[in-house]
Symmetry: C2
Subunit: 162 residues, 2 copies
C-alpha cells in the first residue's frame, strides 16, 4: 500500500463509519420521532435527514461523478430552512433516497483510481488548484464526513431514552 | 509538497477548522446558557464542553506527546454521564482548560515531523500496526475532528435565535 492508497483508505473508513453511524441512529427512530424537533424551536429530524440526503446528493457533481439525482431536495433542505416550504416529502421516501444516494456515491468511490482522489473537485478551477492542491476530491469526502457527524449529533437527541 | 505533507496539511486544516468552529459557538454562549441542557433531559452545554476538553486532553498521551493534563476531567466528563457527579468545575474554568489543551496540542502538531504522523498511536501495538497502518496518529486527528463536530452540532442548539 503506497502513501496515497493509505490515505484514501483512512478517509473512506471515516466516511463509511459516519454513514453507518447515521444509519444506526435512523434505525432507532420511528417516522413519527423524525417528525419532531431535535430541540425546542429547532430543526425537525425529517429536515436533517432531507438536508443530509441533499448534501450527499450534491457530492455527485462536486466530485465530478455525475449530475445530482434529487434537485428537489436542494430547494427544500439546503436553500430553505425547516418549515419554510409546506410541500416536503414523506420520511419513508427520504429514508429510501438517503440510502440510494449513499449507494450511488459508494459505487463511484469503488471505481475511482487512487490518484483521481487527489485531483480537483468541481468548485475549484484548474489554475487555483495548482496553488491549493489540498482542495481535492478526498478533502470533500473528509469535509462531508465532518458535516454529517455534526447533524448526527443532533439527530441522536431524538432517540428515546429508556 | 510531497504526498504525506499534503495529507497532513489536509488533516490539520480540518482539525483547525473544527476547533475554530467550536470556539465560535462558545463565544456566542454565555456561561448561563452553557448550564442549560441542549435538549430536554439531554446533556448540558457544560458537560459537552468538559467532555470535549477531556477527550482532547486524552489525545496528548494517545498521540504519544505527553501525559494528560486534566485527569480530573476524565472522571467527570468521560467516565461519568452528565449530572452523575455533583462536584463539577465552573464553566469559566472549563473555557480556560479547553483553550489550553488545544494550544498544547497545536504546540506538538507544529513540532511533529511529517513522517511521524504516519506512525502508530498509543492504543495499538507495534505488531498490530504492521497489519493496520491506517491506525496512525493522523487518523486519530481526523477521528477526533469528526467527534468534535458531533458535539458542536449539539452545542449550537443552545445559541439563542433572534
Amino acid at each position: 500500500m503506497n502513501d496515497k492508497e493509505l490515505f484514501v483508505k483512512m478517509a473512506l473508513n471515516i466516511w463509511q463509519g459516519q454513514v453507518r453511524a447515521i444509519n444506526h441512529v435512523l434505525d432507532k427512530l420511528s417516522d413519527e420521532q423524525l417528525e419532531k424537533e431535535v430541540a425546542p424551536t429547532r430543526n425537525r429530524g425529517i429536515y436533517l435527514l432531507g438536508h443530509l440526503t441533499a448534501v450527499h446528493d450534491l457530492m455527485l457533481p462536486l466530485l465530478r461523478f455525475e449530475e445530482a439525482h434529487y434537485p428537489y431536495l436542494h430547494t427544500a433542505f439546503v436553500d430553505a430552512p425547516d418549515k419554510a416550504i409546506s410541500m416536503t416529502p414523506q420520511v419513508a421516501q427520504l429514508r429510501i433516497e438517503w440510502k440510494e444516494v449513499n449507494e450511488k456515491l459508494l459505487f463511484h468511490f469503488d471505481k475511482l483510481p487512487t490518484n483521481e482522489w487527489f485531483t480537483r473537485h468541481a468548485n475549484i478551477s484548474e489554475e487555483d488548484f495548482i496553488e491549493e492542491p489540498q482542495r481535492n476530491r478526498l478533502n470533500v469526502l473528509l469535509g462531508r464526513a465532518v458535516h454529517s457527524s455534526y447533524h448526527r449529533g443532533q439527530l441522536a437527541l431524538l432517540i428515546r431514552k429508556n
